[in-house]
Structure formats: structure tokens, C-alpha cells
Symmetry: C4
Subunit: 199 residues, 4 copies
Amino acid sequence: MKKSRLEAFSDGVVAIIITIMVLELRVPVEGKDSIKDLLPMVPFFLSYILSFINVGMYWNNHHHMFYLVNTITGGSLWANLNLLFWLSLVPFGTEWMASNHFSTWPVIVYGGILIMCAVAYSILATILASHCGKNSELAIALGKDWKGKLSIVIYIIGMACAFWYPRIGCGFYGLVAIIWFIPDRRIEHHVRNHNHAEE
Amino acid sequence: MKKSRLEAFSDGVVAIIITIMVLELRVPVEGKDSIKDLLPMVPFFLSYILSFINVGMYWNNHHHMFYLVNTITGGSLWANLNLLFWLSLVPFGTEWMASNHFSTWPVIVYGGILIMCAVAYSILATILASHCGKNSELAIALGKDWKGKLSIVIYIIGMACAFWYPRIGCGFYGLVAIIWFIPDRRIEHHVRNHNHAEE
Amino acid sequence: MKKSRLEAFSDGVVAIIITIMVLELRVPVEGKDSIKDLLPMVPFFLSYILSFINVGMYWNNHHHMFYLVNTITGGSLWANLNLLFWLSLVPFGTEWMASNHFSTWPVIVYGGILIMCAVAYSILATILASHCGKNSELAIALGKDWKGKLSIVIYIIGMACAFWYPRIGCGFYGLVAIIWFIPDRRIEHHVRNHNHAEE
Amino acid sequence: MKKSRLEAFSDGVVAIIITIMVLELRVPVEGKDSIKDLLPMVPFFLSYILSFINVGMYWNNHHHMFYLVNTITGGSLWANLNLLFWLSLVPFGTEWMASNHFSTWPVIVYGGILIMCAVAYSILATILASHCGKNSELAIALGKDWKGKLSIVIYIIGMACAFWYPRIGCGFYGLVAIIWFIPDRRIEHHVRNHNHAEE
């Protein structure tokens, strides 16, 4: 089976998830039109940024991973739906966290949703890699999946931390996004150099 | 006519249907930030899972079916819109059912929407198969459409059951999802073995 | 320029327009769980069906028209955005009409939105046809655009009628959908017979 | 890496942004069904038009720009997400501006969002052009990026103007849309003439 429709459907769902979060940016009521009236929005805005980066990161990784996949199976369709399901809970976690100014339980639940996304992503990757074979490009690329495991560890540290200092817990979640952001650029440079060498 | 745009449009509509249901997961009001405050969300969460699996199942089947179709007609465009129409009512049924804690009439109406989806899917499949011809791959694959008929029977049993035990009725709806989930994997294994044999 | 992205973007916008209308199907408040509680939804449901068919019809026609187009210009990008703009007002018209039980002004405004959609569609068709040339397949197919003109006439009759009998006015809007639905099937049969003859 | 998925994802996000703004067109409450009851909607309608044109303009330009790009890098994925992030704030700015009848601060914040979109677009264009090389079609097309710079200057004038006459400030924002609209047509004519000459 071809991968194009799975990609298109995933793109659609992720595009909606990332965009409906903006509906949670509650506009100040009518008559509240000074710049100070935006102050209550700050936690919403901050958690929107955090979630936007996280969901965007999954889309980027999804994009990279499926680039190396040629055919998909029924199992990977369901594994992909599983990932989309957990991603779809991110807007809920974001809003609960923002409307309670990053207090303990909302931050922990948000972290739990992020962990489930990471686990679902790992399951999808494992199914795709096992179908492609041990020597496939995908299996090799995923072989050193220390980033995935490290992410889950940091999420757990963040959740534990949130029992005492929930805002620092949130900082740990942001750290994961930074970890994923930087190496992607490194791989890019590597690929670019590789291509230059070939030329 | 090519099928790619019909697929893209259907992907878009199904992606939105599956994602807007998350807007129904009502976030506890401000100040309610303990883990107990999530308790009222449990019925919403459970019915969201049920609907997510059901809609995801239709997308998977739609994906499989159109994979075997090469060209589409005006009739199949309308039959596809008919399917999307009934699927678009799923979020409404889900919310009514969840906000009334799976009481009788909401569960019956939800079952009715699922039946209409199943019927609309059958109509679409019949139109596509009749256009492809009796010996087409699609007609052969659909020839044993016992799953489609069995689904409708189980939905009716679930609806009847809901007059006395609505939650058990819901269990029947979940059973249909399981029925569709398992054989898909069996077919996959068959295809995989077939491909191995060819190699 | 290629047409694929314009198609994909239009598919996305139309998919959202057709689906967000379901958010207007106001679920009865908690505790209202008998079948009678669905009665106030009837006007919403009826106007949802009418709008779903209308928007679906535009998507079908858009699909057919762009099938005959090979390249697009900057002008057609803006003409397409203009069509999408007027279509995006359909959900608003639908909700106003439904929440007032098909009273005079909402029905007239709804008709006005449908007329603007029809005009925007004609503008798009004219721009595309003029770019393709007089002898292009598209220009020939559109040459007998009596359906487009007839639609606008019926919409105007419906709007005039709505001053006295708004529900009959709505019937006229439904009539247009039927007119577009039937000939499409006729063309299909023609195409099919043509293909059979070629075989 | 191929550009098709980045295009599809961007199309999806922009389609949602442009369409969810229609949810802000607050339908008059039940019983309010005369034509006068639409009067309070006028500022919402006007700001919807302004935002629809602005977002549509970005989509058109995005479409043109990626037409000239062949491969994309990880850096451009993030630069594209950055653009989508700022575009996703447009619905918020639109609603705040409309619900306060174009008063000073909302108009300034809206202008600020538009500037950030313009800056994010420039960053994306610069990254894409630097990857394509100095003599690429894209670099040449962007070389005379006076429109991008002029837009930012006009936005700043509009924001400054909004301190005293916020509605005139809004006029400046509209002016930018007109500037982008007209030259696009000029380029089209050029391309068309060029193609005619080749024939």
C-alpha cells in the first residue's frame, strides 16, 4: 500500500490539532481593549508556544520517518492513528495547564500526554522498521534512538519535579523540544555535506 | 476522472471530524486543578475513544477500498459525500451520549448514526464495485462482505439492548470496532506471506 | 503553474466549511436525554442538510472544472479565493437561518450568500476558460452554462418568495441542488457510454 | 527531501486559519432575525475580509515561492512552522480588533502580528534562497524583495497612525494587500507573454 494517503491524513489531523489550540487564546471581552487586558493571556500564549513547538516537532519527525518508508501495512495504519489520538489530547492538556497558571496536576497531566505521544511514536517507528527490515535505511536511522528514550526520561523528571515546582517541570518539557530541534540541524548539515561530496 | 482529489477531500473531512471531537473534552473551569476534577471528563473521554476508533476504522477501510479503485464517477462522488455526511454526525452523537452518561436515547441515536454510516459505506462500495466490473479486484474483495452485514446486525442488537442496559449497548458498538480491527491484520499477514512467496 | 496545490488548498477549505457546520448542531443541555429533546434541533438539522448538499455540490463542480484545466494563473488564484470566501459565509447563513426557524430575513440573506457563491464560481470559470482558449475542453463544457444562469434566477425567485413565504423560498434553494445533481448523472452516463463505444 | 508534504501541511494549516475566522462572525441571538440585527456584525465582517485577504495573500505567495524550490532542509521546515505560528495568531488579532470596533491597541497588536508574519516569511524566503544558491530562479525572483520591505514599512506607519486614528491605521494594512495583489497580476502577464513568444 502506498504511503501518500497516510501522510495526507496525518498532515490534516496534525494541522487541525496545531491550529485549534489558537481557539483557546481567549480574546478579552468587549470593551477590554488596552494592552494590559492581554496580561491574563500570557499563560495561554506561553503554553500555546510550547504545544505548537511540540506538535510541530512530531510533524517534522513524522515527515522525516515516512520519507524513508516505501510501503505501509495495516498495523502501521493503526499505530499511526494511535499517535494521532495522543497528539489530539495536547490541546486539552494545554488549555487545562494554561487556565490554571501551570499548577501541579495540570502540568503532570500535560507531561503524561507528551509521554504517551512519545511512546506511540516509538511504537509506530518500531512497526515501520520491523516491516522495512533490519538493514533498511529506517532501521539504521532509528537504531540509535537515544533521543526518543532520553525524551521520555526528561518528561518523567519534569513530571516528578512538577509535584514541587510545576513551572520548572514545564521547563523540562521545553528542554525536550530543544533537544529535538538541534540534532535535526546537525543531520541536515551532514546530509548537505554528503551531497556536496557526491557532487 | 482521477481519484486523488476525492481521496484528499475525504481525508480532510475525516481529519476534521476526528479532531473536532477533542473540542468536546470540556476542560474543568479555572481553579479546578486537582486530579479529581478530571473525573467528570471520564464519560467524554470514553466516548471520544469509541468515536475516534470508529471514525479511524472508516478511514482505514476507505483507504483500502480506494486503493483498489482506478477511476471514479459522478455517482460515487455523491455516494462519498453521503458517507461523509453521516460520519459528520458522529461528533454530535458522541457529545450527547457523553453529556448524559450513556443513557438510553443518546446511546440509541449514536447507534443509529453508526448504522447510517455503515449503510452509506455499503452504498459507496456497491457503486464503486459495479463500475469496476464483476471480476475486478474490488468486487472480489467486497464479495464476502459479511463484516459489513454483521456490523449492522450487531449495531441493531446494541440499540435494542440500550433500551434496558444502555452501557452494554455501547459495548456492542465497541465490539464492531474490534471485529474490523482483527481481520485487517489477518489480511495483512496474508499479503505479506504472498509477497514473501513471490520473492 | 501547477494546479495541484490550488486543488489541495480548496479541498482543505471546503472540507472545513462543510464540517464546522456540524458544530452548530447544538447538543441538548445535560439531563435532556429523551428523544423529544432533539425536536429543537430539527431546523438546525434541515438547514445543515441543505448547506451540506450546496457546499458538496460546489466541491463536485470544482472537481469537474479543474479536471479540465492544466495550468493556473495568478488571476485564477484570487478568483478561487473569492469563491472560497463566499462559501465560508455559508455556515454563518445556515446558523442564522436555523436559529430563527427559517424566518424572512435570514432566508433572504442565506439566498444572497448562495447567489454570491454562484457569481464567484462563474467568475472563476470565465477566467479559467479565457486562459485555456476558446476551443479548449473547458470552454466547450462551460459554453452551455445555462445551469449556472438558471441557478441564479431560481435563487432570486426564492429570495423574492421569502418575503411572504420564507420556507417556500428555501424550497427553491433546494431545487437548485436537485438541478445540479441530476444532469451530473446524465453526463456520467454519456461519458460511460462513450468509453464503452471506444472499447 | 521532497517539498510536497511541507506544502500539504502548510495548505492544511492555512486553510484552517482562514476558515476558523468565520466562527468569530457571531450569529445574532435567537429571535433577532431582522436585517438591522446584522449591524453589530459589520466590524467583524470588515476585519474578516481584511484577514481573509491577508492570509490568502500569504498562501498565494507561499505557493509561488515553493513552486521555484525543489528540495527542502530541516531548517526550512522550522522556518515554515515559524511562519505558520504567526499566521495562526491572525484570527485572535482579528477578533480582538473587531470586538472593540477597531480601537487603538487592538489595531496596533493586529499590525504587530502582520509584521511578525512578514518577518517570518522573509526568514523562510532567505533560508530557501540560500539553500538553492545565488543563481537559482528563487534567489533572482526574491532579489528585488522591495515588496516585502515596503510592506513592513507600511505596517509600521499604520501602527504609528493607530495611536491617533486607528481606523486609518487599518487602511494602511489594507494598502499592503493591494500592493501584493496588483504586481502579481503584472508578473502573470509577463509570464503569459513570455509563453506566447515561445510558442
